[in-house]
Symmetry: D3
C-alpha cells in the first residue's frame, strides 16, 4: 500500500483510503464538486471530486473505505488529489489497521490479563460487579477493547483504553502490595473501572470524537452511572462499598479543575488518582519521545507544562 | 416555654429541650457522668447529669425531646445546667417548631405552587418526569418538604430546600419570559429538580449533617442519579432532552471549583446556574441582615467575600 | 442596496458604503495608492484606489459614506474591490441603519420605559439624580440612546447600552419585588445608572472603539465620576445614599479581576452585580445562537468558557 | 508618666490615659457599670467603673483624655483597672504624643520638603494642581499631616501618610533621573498625590479606622475624585495630562486584585506603582525588625509572605 | 516507664524525660523560677521549677534527658508538674527510643537495601557518585540514617528520610521496569539522592527543626549543591548526565509553587516527581488512619485537601 | 553598508551579512539547495542558494559573517535573496556591531563603575568574593561584558547584562542610603552578583539562546552555584553571610512562580527583588517606547500585562 506520508507532486495513485470528512461545494461558476479528506495511519490529504456525477464515481459515505484513482498536485503549498474514480470497498478488501492508529500491544492478551485480575478478587460482590462488565456484557467488552483513552492527549489509538486501564491496574497492584493500609480488592476494582465511561464519551474509531452525552456529561459521571446501574442489579451489594467505588470513580481526576466533582477522601481514591495521573504523564512523555528524533529540546509541551528533552544515553 | 437564650445564672428550669449531643464521661475520681448539649430554636447549652443512675433520670437518646429539671450555673464563663431529673417526651407533648429552625413561609402553600408549575409544563415527558418525583413519590415528597438547602450556608432550616427551589423557579420563569431563546419547559423543569440530591446529601433535622454518601458523592451527582433513574422508567423519553436535563443538574454550580463536573453549555444551564447563585447570595444577605441590628458594618462575610453593611434608610 | 455579504467575483458594484479604514501606500515601483476597508451592516471588504488622483476620485475621509463604483475580484483567496470612482455622500442619501449594527428593538419605546421607571421612584433625591441625566441632559440622552454596551462582547450595536440597561433594570425590578430586604428605589436607580460611563468609554458608531480616557480610566470609574458630579449639584442629597449609589456603580463587576475596585458590600450592590452578569451571559448566548444554525456544537466560547450547544427542540 | 506596659498587679495608678472604647453593662444582679479600654502609646488595658454614679466619676466620652485613679489587679490572667475616680482633662494637661503612635521624623520638615518638590515643577498646570492641595487647601493640609498611611499594615502612625508620600516621591525622583523616558514633572506630581484619598478613607487618630465612604469607595477612587475636582477648577488644564494623572492614581496598586481598577499603561504609572510597593515592603520590614530583638527568625509575616529574619552583622 | 499520656492530677512522678524547651522567668513578686517542657514519645507536659537554686536541682540543658521528681496538678485546665528534684542522666540510663518518634522499620535493614540498589547500578559514574555518599561519607551516612523526611508533614520521625527514600526508590524501580523509555540507572540514582538535602535542612532529633540554611536555601537547592560538589570530584563525569541528575533534584517538587525552580523536562524527572508525591500522599493517609480509630469521617486534612474517611471493611 | 531593512524588490546586493540559520533542502524534482537566514542589526531575510556546488559558493557555517552577492525578489509576499556567490569573511572585514544588537552605553565605562562599587565595599570577605569574579576571573569578565540580560524580554543585546546589573546596583545603592535597616555592603554585593548565572544560561551572541544547562537548571541556581564555589575558596568566609548572599540570589525573582525556590526573607533580599523587577519593567517600557512612534496606544504587552501608551508631552 502507498501511504499518504509518501505522496509527492505529480504522481498517480490507486489505493484504498479512509474517508475522514466529505462535503459538497460549488465552484464560482456554479458547478458542484465534492471536498474529501482521505486518511491512512500515516496522515491525511485533501481530495476533490470535480465530476461527482461521472461514471467512475460510485456512492460512498464518511468513514467508508474507498478505492481512489487520482493524481496528486500541489495547491497553495500543500498536496491535493484530483479524484478520477472512486469505489466503496467491502470489509476484507482492506486492513483497518492500515488506517487507524492502533496499540502496539496485543489486545486479546491485554484483555486476558484484565480477566486474570478479576479472578484474583476475593470479595464476591466486587468480583460480581467486575464480571457484570468484563465477562457478561458483550457490547461493553467490544467497545472497551476498541476505545481510545482520549481524543488526542494520550493513548488516542484503538486499544488505548484497554492499555491504559491495564497499566493503571498494574501500578495499583504494586501500590496495594507496598502500602498495607490499602484495600487491595477495592483498589484493583476501581482501577479496572475508572475510565469505562470513555466507551460512551468518545465515539468509535475512525471518528473518535466526543459524543453529545460525552460533552454534556463527561466520562467521569457516565462511568459512575454505568457502575451504579450494575451495582443496583447485584442483590445485597454492601452499601458502604458501593459508596466507596462510586467515590473513587468520581474523584479519580483528583482536582475540581480537572472535572472531578469530589476530591479523593479515602486512601484507595488517593492511590487511584495518582496512579492514573502517573500513567498518563509517562505515556505522554513516551509518545512524545517516540514521535521525535535526536537529542535536542523538543519544544514546549502543554500537558507536561515544560519544554521537554530526550535524556542523554 | 422558657427559651435557652433567656436563661441566667441561678435559676431553676423545668421544660422540654431537644438533645442535640450526648456522651458519657468519667470524673477525675472515677465517677461516671453524662455530657449533654440541649437545644431549642433560640440556641443551645451544655448540661451535665452527675448522677446518671439516679431514680429521676430515665432513658433517652440523641435527638429525643426530653423534659429537663435542673438548675443553671456559670462555669468557665458560660452557663451550664445540672440536670436533676430527665424524662423522654412523646410526640404531642412538644411542638418541633420550637426546637428547629423553620422557614417562615407556609410549607403546604409553597408545595402547592410547585405543583402549579408542573401543571403548566406542556411537554408530556417533562411533566411525567416531574410528577414521578413531586406527585408519585411519597417518600421523596416528605423528604423534600423537610430538607434544608444547606448545612449552614443559607436556607439551613426546615423547608429551606422547598423555599430555595421555589425562589429559583420563580426567577427562572421570569428569565424564560424575558429571554425568548430559553426553552421554558426545560428551564422550569431543571429549576424544580436542580437540588433534589440534597434530600439525600443531608440527613434529616434535627441532625441536618452530611450523610456518608453526601460526603462521598455530593448532591450534584446524587441528584443527577435520581433523575437518571426516573427518566429510565419513562418510555420513549427523548434522549436529547434527557442529556440536557442531566447536564443542567451537573452544571448548575457553574464552575469546576464549586463541584460542577461540567460547565454550562446550553442556555438553560447558564440561566439555571445564575438563578441558583443569585438566590443563594440574596438569601445570605437577607439572613445576615435579619440576624443583626443597627446600621454599622457587620464584619467580613466569607460567602459574600466582603465586609457587609446594612443599607441606610 | 447591494450588501457586501452578497458580492462575488467579477461583478461591478455602484452603491454607497461606509469607509471604516483608509490608509495611503506605495507600490513596489513607487506609485501611490489607497487602501480602504468598506463596511455595511452585513460585513466589510478590502478596496483599493489605484489612481487616487484621477478625476472620479473625490475627497472623503474615514467614516464618511461614499458612493463607490468599482469591480470585484479575488486576491489571495479573498474578494477585493478596485475602485474606479468614489464620491462622498451627504446625510439623506443613505440610511445609517444599513451600515451599522443596530438593536432590533425600538429605541424610543425603550427610552420611554426608562422614563417610566424614573417616574415610579419615590425618593425625591434619587428621582432628581436620574432626571438630571435622563431628562435634563440632552447631550447625555443622545449619547446614551446611540451607545453600544460593549466594543464586541455583547450588545455591541447601536442602542445596545439602552437595551442592556433596560434589561438589567427589568430584572432588578423583579428582584426588588421578590426579596423584601432590597431597597427598590436604590436598586432601580443604580440599575439605570450602572453603565452610563460607557457613553464616554467607547466612541460613537461607526467607530465604537475605546476612547483615550476609556482606556486610561474605564467605564466604571467614569460612570462613578459622572454620578458624583450630578449628586454634587443636588442640594441636601443624603450623604449615606450618595455613598451607596457610588458603591453600587464601583462594585457592579463584582470581582477585582473584572475591574471593580470594590466588591459588593450592600444587598443592592450584590443584586445589581448578578443582574448585570446574568443579562450579559444570556445575551451572549442569545447572540451566539442567533448567529448560527443547526443543532451541532458551536465550538468553544471564551466568555461562556465552554463549548456551547443549541438546545434540542 | 506611668506607661501601661509597666503596670503590675497590686499597684495604684493616677495618671492621664486616652479612652479608646467605652460601653455600659449590667452585672448579674442588675447593677450598672462601665467597661473602658484605656490606651497610651505603649499599649492598652481593660478598666471597670463599678460605681459610675459616684462623686469622683465625672462625665467623659470615647477619645477623651481622662485622669484615672484606680488600682491594678489580675482577672482571668490579664491586668485590669478598677477605677475609683475619673476626670476629663483639657488640652494642655497632656501631650498627645504620649498616647498616639507618631512618626519619628519631624512633620514640618517633611512637609517643607513636599513644598520644595512642588516649587521644582516646571509645568504650570501641574504646579497649580499641587498647590491647590498642598498650599491652598488648609483643611487638606491639616488632614494630610496627621493621617497614617494605613490602618495597621505599615506607616500606621500620625504623620505616616506624609512620611510614606515623601519616601515614594524621593524614590520617584531617583527613577525620573535614572530613566530618561520618564516625564519627571508628571511622576513627581502623581507621587505626591497618589495616596491623598487616605485622608478620607481613614478617620483621624486616635480612631484611625475606615470611614463609611472609605469602605464603600476606597482611597484609590476617593483620591481620584479629589484630584478630578481640583483639575476641573483649573482653566485650560490639558486634557491628555488630566487623563494621565487620574490613570496613575487609579493604577497605583498595580493589580486588579489589590483594588486598582486599571493596570499601569504609561511608564510613569509603572514607576509609581513599583515605587509605592517598594517603600511599603521596606517599611514593613523596617517596622518588623525595629519591633523585635535578637537574630532569630521572627516568624511568618503575611505581607512579606515568608518567615522573616534579621540580617546578621 | 511512666508515659506522659498516662499522667493524672495528684500523682507523684519520678522518671526520666527529655527537656524539649527551657526558659527562666520571674514571679510577680520577683522570685526567679524555670519553665520546662518535658517530652517522651507519647506527648509533652509543662513543668515548673519553683526553687531553681535548691539542693535537689542539678544543672542540665535543653535536649538533656533528666530524672524528674515532682507532682502533677491541674492549672488552667491542663496538667503541670511541680519539679522537686532534677538530675541530668548519662547515656545508658535511658533508651532514646522512648523519647523520640521512630520508624517502625529496621534502619540497618533499610540501609542495606539502599546499598543493594547501588550495587545494581551499571553506569560506573552513577555508581561512583552514589558510593561517594552512601559508602564513603561517614558523616552523611550517620545523618541520613537519623533524619526525618519532614518537620511535621509526613515521615517526621527518626529514620523517616531513609524509609521515604527507599519507598520512592522501590516505586521508581517499578516504573523503570514498566515504562521502557525510562533510563533505569538514572532514575534509581536520583530517587536515592532526591532528598539528601534534608540531612542539612532539618536539625537532628530531638530538635528536628529548620536550620538557618534550611530556611534560607531549602533542601532542594542544598541537595543540588551536595550532589554538584561530589560530581565535581569524580573525573570525567559525563556532563550531560550531570545536568540531568541536577535537574531531577531541582525539579522533584514538580511545580514552582512547591519550591522547585524548574519543572520536570525529562522523563526521569517526571517519574521521580510523581513517585515522590505518591509516596508522600499515601504515607500521610497511612499516618492519619493509623493515628485514629473508628470508621467515622476524620475531619478536614490540609495536605489531602479533603475531609478524610477510613475505608469500610 | 546596505542594511536589510532597506532592501527592496529587484535590487542586487553585495555586502557582508551574518548567517543566523542554515539548512539543506531538496526541490520537488530532487535538486539539492540551501536555505539561509541572513541577519544584520536592522533585521533578517530569507536567502536561497540554488546552486550550492557552483564555483562562487565557498564553505561557511552558521554564525559566520559571509559576503553575499545576490538579487532580491518577492516570494509569497516577502522579500528573499537568490544567492549567486558567497564567501566567508575574516575578522576585521566587518564590524560585529553592525550585526548584533548592542547596548548604547560604553561597556568599559560601565565595567569601571562596577569596579568602583567593589572598591567601596568595606567587608573584606564581600570584597574578596566580588574581586574573585570581577577582577580575578578573566573568563567570567569576558562573558559578563558580552552577555545579554535575557533572550528576548529586555536588555537582550550585547552588554545588556552589564547594563542591567549596573542599573540594579545603582538603585540598590539609593535604597541602602534611604532605608537605614539595609546592610549596604550586602545589598550592593548581591546586586552585582544576582544575575551572573546568565553568563552560562544563555549562549554567546550571535546565538544568544538557552544552553542545555540553562534550560535544565536556570540562571538562578547556576548563579547560586557559581557564588557558592567562590565562597568555598575564601578562608574563614562568615557562614551566616554566606547563607544570606546565597539566599538573596535564590530569592531575587521574588515569587515561586517566577522560578525562585525561596521567597525573600531578609530585607536585602526584599530590596534586591524589587530593584531587579523595577529595572526590568522600566527597561521594557523604555525599549517599547523607543521602538515605536506616535502617541497612539501601542497594543497589549504581555510583560506589562496591559495595553500600553506613550505619555503625552
Amino acid at each position: 500500500m502507498k501511504y499518504i506520508e509518501n505522496f509527492h507532486d505529480g504522481e498517480n495513485i490507486s489505493d484504498i483510503y479512509l474517508v475522514k470528512q466529505m462535503s459538497s461545494a460549488v465552484t464560482k461558476n456554479g458547478k458542484p464538486y465534492v471536498n474529501l479528506i482521505l486518511q491512512d495511519k500515516t496522515g491525511s490529504i485533501d481530495a476533490k471530486i470535480w465530476e461527482p456525477n461521472s461514471a467512475g464515481i460510485e456512492d460512498f459515505e464518511v468513514f467508508d473505505y474507498v478505492l481512489i484513482y487520482g493524481n496528486v498536485s500541489t495547491y497553495n503549498g500543500a498536496l491535493q488529489i484530483s479524484v478520477q474514480r472512486a469505489r466503496k470497498c467491502r470489509e476484507g478488501e482492506y486492513d483497518p489497521a492500515d488506517y487507524l492508529p492502533m496499540t502496539s500491544k496485543n489486545i486479546d492478551e491485554m484483555f486476558a490479563r484484565i480477566l486474570n485480575y478479576i479472578s484474583d478478587i476475593r470479595s464476591p460482590y466486587l468480583k460480581q460487579l467486575l464480571e457484570s462488565f468484563f465477562v457478561a456484557d458483550e457490547e461493553f467488552i467490544k467497545a472497551f477493547k476498541k476505545s481510545s483513552a482520549a481524543k488526542s492527549v494520550h493513548h488516542s489509538f484503538v486499544g488505548g483504553l484497554l492499555q491504559h486501564t491495564l497499566s493503571v491496574t498494574d501500578l495499583c497492584k504494586y501500590l496495594a502490595d507496598a502500602y498495607p493500609m490499602i484495600n487491595r480488592d477495592l483498589l484493583i476494582s476501581v482501577a479496572l473501572l475508572h475510565d469505562i465511561g470513555k466507551t460512551r464519551e468518545l465515539s468509535d474509531f475512525p471518528e473518535n470524537d466526543y459524543t453529545d452525552d460525552g460533552q454534556l456529561l463527561g466520562h467521569i459521571v457516565m462511568g459512575y452511572a454505568m457502575v451504579s446501574e450494575k451495582i443496583a442489579g447485584i442483590p445485597d451489594f454492601p452499601q458502604k462499598t458501593a459508596g466507596e467505588i462510586k467515590h473513587c470513580i468520581l474523584a479519580h481526576h483528583g482536582e475540581y479543575e480537572y472535572g472531578s466533582p469530589k476530591k479523593p477522601a479515602i486512601i484507595e481514591a488517593v492511590a487511584l488518582h495518582h496512579a492514573d495521573n502517573l500513567d498518563a504523564k509517562l505515556e505522554i512523555m513516551t509518545e512524545l519521545l517516540a514521535s521525535s528524533q535526536g537529542t535536542d529540546w523538543l519544544g514546549f509541551n502543554r500537558l507536561i507544562d515544560s519544554n521537554v528533552r530526550r535524556t542523554s544515553e
